[in-house]
Symmetry: D3
Subunit: 153 residues, 6 copies
């Protein structure tokens, strides 16, 4: 049976930190689905189309990676695509506390496990909300996002 | 003099984690008031009526527990009801940092102390905002909330 | 060359915790600019005018302190005023995680370093958002803010 | 039935932080036993006799406080003295993680609950191992320990 | 190529928390080696023989699990056994900070990645050093260790 | 008056993380003293002579840096050398909790302030005790320590 992992997020935007987590997860899965979750009550800085186009471009040469969007509970979407695991990155202990609650509650309602990878050190300070702040103020984001021109042009 | 403790919160919803904290506080108080705080600038997923009905049902057989609503500073409400202590639950260190600030500031403006109990391990990952997310997406919440039908029917 | 440090924030309000950080930074700089950042998408409890008037009053006798407002990236404002360092206070480990991300990202896009001072113990629980909550509910804030009458009258 | 709480520790030395925790616990218990735990494989800076003499002096005017020594599992000693609760102080989130593990494991093997109080802000940085370091180097410890002369003379 | 993961530790003793981590790692590896690390400068409560006998008994029915001992750098042992990943469990944020440093330094000197799984909630408070303390004081450890009689008889 | 900062530590060994902290502190001080603290009850992996020789070599071209040894309370040594500030690096929130206690207690007994700099991201996982473990097991340490040959030859 194919081993499928889901890497879910809003990815507003998809950072170099996210990118490294996908690369780290590849050796342990036959397929990794990057799932862009849509929450109708949230507003995003970058459009859904742009975010998906951007992520697809980053992984266009890697067959095992698929980019999708979904608008339901993460664990329900896992079942739709036969994903056995949720994939998450960890940067710091504040991350960890929140990820731990979500992972335990996901396990509890669905039996689906979460597997964690560390963001590489040089990307461990990258934070999507700070990137949005920088971008809104006209600052450069290419240190934190690969090929940002796809995202914003 | 009667020893009264206040367990304040928005309880949107009242989780199994909250429930265990009330049970743990009972041996140390003559009366425990569960105070549902109303903040007019916040919006809630579950209506105030439902939340209060739900909590009352959970404790209907325990005479020492009273369920009330209040719309003022927590420490001012303590004085109204002669509560000597605020009761809070602790799950993880992220909780702790925030609770510590509130407890110190409450002590500073009123002299009222806060006493802390640990959420039991099996409930320590329960997080009301994640429950709301699950419920909004049609997921099951009975692992995290006792008798959720009272809350949502 | 004059050594200039920027202490940026929204200061809604400027607390005793902020105050002590400025005092602690003075021996290491020739000039400390307290920069009130304006974010047009945020709403504040205290008006910009009041906040600036309040901070100016607190430091009126200290020549090395200047109070300004700015509406751009913090690191861009540093360049405008020739500040070599950003000054930040640390209270607890939750603070630290977030400050660390911002400091690393600021360094990355501009080369500007951040220097940290500890809030004194007796002010380490002071949290501006809890002060706002207390003030909105008519509670006293003079334990946490020096001369609050300038801010609210 | 008398409500008894045990405040256990090695108290090498008993600090102002420990002192405030005992005072905070008094309103919720009929008796508070300060239990100096003896671990035969550990070495202490201050002798057992001195530590007990010191703590007794600090609470000589409070009838509800008793000072004892014990050399067994904390929860077994609780049963010996009919203590229903273990009392612990919390300073910061590093404390909290460790205290949480001990409290859950104590509950698991004995059913005995732990109740937590916050160290007051002005004492929240006091750390017994740093006090020992200061004392060994001839530094002053009276800011952190009440009546240290009883301990060291 | 066979995917091999190493789960290293001193396992003094091997707890239910360790056990669940091994079970969680199995779906992502073809073989999981539980490596009992020997540090000649440390002393252990349970003998190496007993620890290995105990762990082997726990996994005797799972072909994919192998129990070994090693006395070198963890990453060097990974190379010996062709392990591509180190497997670690995470309980709380204190764990996380230390595990993060080790994982980054291991990656830096060898290129070997670490993958993390959460300890299940009911085992998340289990701490080997507290178990040793309980055992030394004659307390029961069967809530924290499966089949402890193999370890101690 | 000359502004002098003390960067104290056991530096067993002096890592790239320590090195960056010294460089970051230089713009704010006229002189930075790297003080190798000697604790007669501790044992070290690298000899005092080697550690001092190593650190001196790293800073031989920077006039503002002086390397010394001391065997007393850090704050007492500050007074000996007229240092107005203690300089410390921060890596993660576990560091922070401990550094906070030491800094507050140092302030309390001497009035001397501590100023904090962040370790650069690429060095933020470097931990001297893990380096010692790697070195004892014959692993390479040049990713973490500049010119380690001075230290060990």
């Amino acid at each position: 049976m194919k081993k499928i992992g889901l890497f879910p997020g809003s990815f507003d935007p998809f950072t170099k930190g996210h990118e490294i987590v996908v690369h780290k997860s590849l050796p342990l899965f036959d397929e990794v689905v990057i799932g862009v979750g849509i929450n109708s009550t949230k507003s995003y800085l970058f459009s859904l189309d742009r975010r998906i186009k951007h992520i697809k471009a980053l992984f266009k040469d890697i067959d095992k990676v698929r980019v999708e969007q979904f608008q339901k509970l993460t664990v329900d979407y896992c079942k739709d695509i036969n994903a056995s695991h949720i994939i998450r990155g960890l940067r710091d202990s504040k991350d960890f506390q929140y990820e731990k609650s979500i992972a335990h509650m996901n396990k509890s309602i669905s039996g689906i496990e979460t597997v964690f990878f560390l963001t590489d050190q040089e990307y461990s300070a990258i934070n999507a909300s700070i990137i949005r702040e920088i971008h809104k103020n006209g600052g450069p984001i290419e240190s934190f996002v690969t090929n940002p021109e796809i995202l914003v042009s």
